[in-house]
Symmetry: C2
Subunit: 210 residues, 2 copies
């Protein structure tokens, strides 16, 4: 499907393409072109063609791209059609919000369980799941084989927990802890989410008025 190894820059743009095409499809628009997409997304038409061509030839000369077909292709490329089990580790404020508000199904996953170390939280219900204690993590993983883990735990516990989950077969980490996980990228994929970093870049870009 893909021509060579895809650069990080391209990968980061794929979700935007997918989102925008979904919007077009919902709006009932049947066809589009790299020029049109470029204008809407603030990119050059050339870049969009270049990006898409990493994965195949989805357009037609003189016509452009069929919105639904291209959206579907991106869905397959990104893997959104799959249904891979995911586990949330850490049922504090953040864990709760993610459990309740992220539509894992829309991203090719399904939430399969929520865990926490605090026995006072265990047993309570979040998003239809009973919070389980970390002691039962091994059992759960052997049974359910989660492909990814969402880490919503304090910085101190993150690396250790990630290692433990890695040994249990988890292949991807969506990491909300305030640290960068250390991992051999050939074995495990890590997506760090640092809201603080994001806010800092905004802070940097604010007028300095010195």
């Amino acid at each position: 499907m893909q021509k060579a190894s895809i650069s990080e820059s391209v990968i980061r743009r794929l979700p935007r393409y997918y989102r925008f095409l979904s919007q077009l499809e919902e709006a009932g628009i049947e066809r589009t072109s790299s020029r049109e997409l470029g204008v809407q997304l603030g990119l050059t038409a050339s870049q969009i063609r270049q990006d898409l061509n990493c994965f195949g030839e989805f357009g037609q000369q003189g016509y452009g791209y069929n919105v639904s077909a291209l959206r579907r292709q991106l869905e397959l490329i990104i893997g959104l059609n799959k249904n891979r089990p995911a586990v949330i580790v850490g049922a504090g404020n953040l864990g709760k919000v993610i459990a309740a508000n992220i539509d894992f199904g829309a991203y090719g996953f399904r939430l399969a369980g929520i865990f926490d170390i605090d026995r006072r939280i265990c047993g309570s219900e979040i998003a239809g799941f009973t919070v389980q204690h970390m002691d039962t993590l091994e059992e759960f993983c052997n049974e359910t084989e989660p492909l990814i883990a969402v880490l919503c735990i304090p910085q101190e516990a993150a690396q250790e927990t990630a290692d433990r989950l890695k040994d249990l077969g988890v292949k991807g980490f969506w990491n909300f802890s305030h640290c960068d996980l250390d991992a051999d990228r050939s074995q495990v994929q890590v997506e760090n989410v640092h809201l603080g970093d994001s806010l800092m870049t905004l802070s940097y870009r604010m007028p300095k008025d010195d």
Copy 2:
């Protein structure tokens, strides 16, 4: 302070440098070097020196960098020492979590108010703030002059609300709506946070086992 216009790539790395230096400082480590930082952060020493030199000469040959001094410099560069008013718009699940969990002070801002369109939510208290109705937004902005707004509202309302806030003098948007805001970057800065995009890149990087 800065030598020329700073590239996006460099800006994105600054928060990581800052975070890591804060950790070193807390651990009581006094000095470090570009080589050491590079090993820890998974970057080349050359890149770190290049990045830092965009803003000045903070190191000393034969010695390296003083951790506290460099952290302090980055603090100033990013603007974390400031105290600029911020407003949260949208007091649903996400708005609540952000209000309660983001330490705005640590990023050079201070939370000054929370707004929502839903009168049933207005009047309730979140993180010490009484949720105000959007009708009173103009009054609030004239008084408090928030520099940034955190948008935690549905996609449909995002662009309109952003325009309204822009007219009220807001210069930056931390946008959690599921859309990319359209804005003249010379007047207004937008930092889009798309958790869905983040999860999609993880989905893409998962084994395909076809």
